[in-house]
């Protein structure tokens, strides 16, 4: 695992300029919009995308074949991609939250720090769901076809949501009731539910990715 993580970190060096752009744009958004949340969610989400770049780099020039002759298993490779995604998202979230907290303390002294930091924590579910959705697609279809496949997946999710709401409506279930349940959960209940959904999404996604990698021929 350590070797793979080092490899991905070394590959990330190639994206240094993109890193800097994300940081600058994130800070500009925070300053112009006077909203620390924007920078936290923006940079956390974009940093999590680097995991997908590392998969593309691994595939460059058929490097994957050689990679799997090293003392690693396909299972370890898949686990490492999720770990790397979580680490980059957490790292970006932590750094941006610290910067945003300092900014808020200096520029908006009256702001309740705890409140927005809790909301920022919930923002971590965004990259989790994003990675859960995109890692299997990227592993299955690769960088080029992956983009087209991703559009299909997102479209599919919309259709699924639309179909689900239609079915619920026809069964006499009111969507507003569900909204009320969510509202009545309270911050803690909502946070737990969101965390559970994220973990479940990542676990399901991991097993799909593993299956994809185990079937892959190089």
């Amino acid at each position: 695992m350590k070797g793979l993580l080092i490899k991905d970190l070394k590959l990330l060096k190639n994206q240094m300029n993109f890193f800097l752009i994300i940081c600058v744009v994130g800070m500009m958004l925070m300053i112009t919009q006077k909203n620390p949340m924007i920078m936290v969610s923006y940079s956390t989400f974009l940093f999590s995308m680097f995991t997908l770049s590392t998969i593309s780099y691994d595939e460059f020039d058929n490097s994957n074949a050689f990679l799997f002759t090293l003392p690693i298993t396909r299972k370890l490779y898949v686990i490492e991609k999720y770990v790397f995604g979580i680490l980059t998202a957490l790292g970006a979230w932590f750094a941006s939250t610290v910067i945003a907290a300092v900014y808020t303390a200096l520029r908006q002294p009256g702001t309740n720090q705890t409140e927005w930091i809790i909301t920022a924590a919930i923002m971590l579910c965004l990259p989790a769901v994003f990675l859960a959705l995109t890692i299997p697609v990227q592993l299955k279809f690769g960088a080029d076809k992956g983009r087209a496949a991703m559009i299909g997946v997102v479209g599919g999710i919309f259709i699924l949501c639309f179909a689900a709401s239609y079915v619920m409506k026809s069964m006499g279930i009111n969507i507003d009731d569900i909204s009320n349940i969510i509202t009545n959960m309270g911050a803690r209940g909502l946070a737990f539910t969101v965390a559970a959904i994220c973990i479940a999404a990542c676990v399901v996604s991991y097993f799909i990715s593993l299956r994809i990698m185990e079937k892959k021929q190089f």
Binding site: K2, G3, I6, K7, K10, L11, K13, N14, Y57, D58, F60, D61, N62, S63, N64, A65, F66, L67, F68, T69, L70, P71, I72, Q217, F218
Partner: protein
């Protein structure tokens, strides 16, 4: 036995591999054949990069699917057309190899990279073909592996670099406890390095012979039609029609030298044996 392929089968739409092969401890075994003959497919099957449709592959006496991390550390690999991501530099891959291989010899690896003038901070994708080939071999030899699996390791190298790498491989074998399975389309590379050779054609092994015997006992008989008619054909493997009559491949050159003093007998070499085995017709 360090490596054994037993009736390994892999079926593609337009190609079928059916291969049995053995690599003994302390030996260098060569796999030769034309492009598309099945060399790379065989290597990929050995390394578990492709699934097989039949047969069995054993490495270090274990089924290839059951190899542990330690076992895999004992395999050094060169693949034609694949290596570390081109976006990494030599500097980048050193800590990766250090983390993955407990026996990675960092100082030695760096020394050899310098010896072969490999730039440490240049992205691998910007290396010349020769540089990439050298790096792949150096990586394969950097962690004291017991088994080297080298698919076309000298492709793209000039004569001098090729000789240097072949010398390194011979030096690597001096340990006595190591083995190499190597493929190359440059037969002279294999002549001077391999203990035995497998010839693969259309996915099947068509010949297996000790290199010494191949170079010593195999030969080409150049005969007229009349001479061919009178020839004892017991030791003729293949024949090919020529302007003057026939070229015949034999594995008992000495027999014909002694018994047919009038015919021309040429010393065998790998290229001619391959050509005859593939192009020649049965006697």
């Amino acid at each position: 036995m360090i490596l054994k392929l037993e009736n390994v089968e892999k079926h593609y739409e337009q190609f079928d591999l059916k291969c049995s092969l053995e690599l003994q401890d302390g030996c260098v075994t060569g796999l030769i054949g034309q492009n598309g003959a099945g060399k790379s497919t065989t290597f990929k099957a050995v390394l578990g990069l492709i699934s097989i449709d039949g047969g069995r592959i054993e490495v270090f006496g274990k089924d290839v699917k059951e190899l542990s991390k330690e076992d895999r550390e004992n395999i050094g690999v060169v693949l034609s057309g694949s290596g570390f991501s081109g976006y990494l530099t030599v500097h980048d891959i050193i800590p990766i190899l250090s983390s993955m291989y407990t026996s990675f010899q960092k100082a030695d690896f760096q020394k050899r990279c310098r010896k072969f003038s490999l730039p440490m901070d240049k992205k691998i994708k910007d290396f010349s073909t020769g540089m990439k080939a050298k790096l792949k071999v150096l990586v394969a030899m950097s962690h004291d592996a017991k088994l080297l699996i080298l698919d076309e390791p000298t492709a793209g190298l000039d004569v001098i670099a090729r000789d240097e790498l072949l010398d390194m491989m011979r030096e690597y074998m001096e340990d006595g406890n190591r083995s190499i399975l190597i493929s190359s389309h440059i037969s002279s590379d294999l002549e001077g390095l391999c203990d035995d050779l497998y010839m693969i054609h259309d996915g099947s092994i068509i010949m297996h012979e000790d290199t010494d015997r191949l170079l010593g006992d195999y030969g080409l008989l150049k005969v007229t039609e009349a001479q061919y008619g009178k020839l004892d054909k017991r030791y003729i493997l293949k024949r090919k029609r020529e302007n003057f009559g026939y070229s015949c491949l034999t594995n008992q050159k000495q027999y014909y030298i002694e018994n047919y003093p009038g015919i021309a007998v040429e010393k065998g070499n790998i290229d001619e044996v391959i050509t005859m085995m593939i192009r020649g017709e049965s006697k």
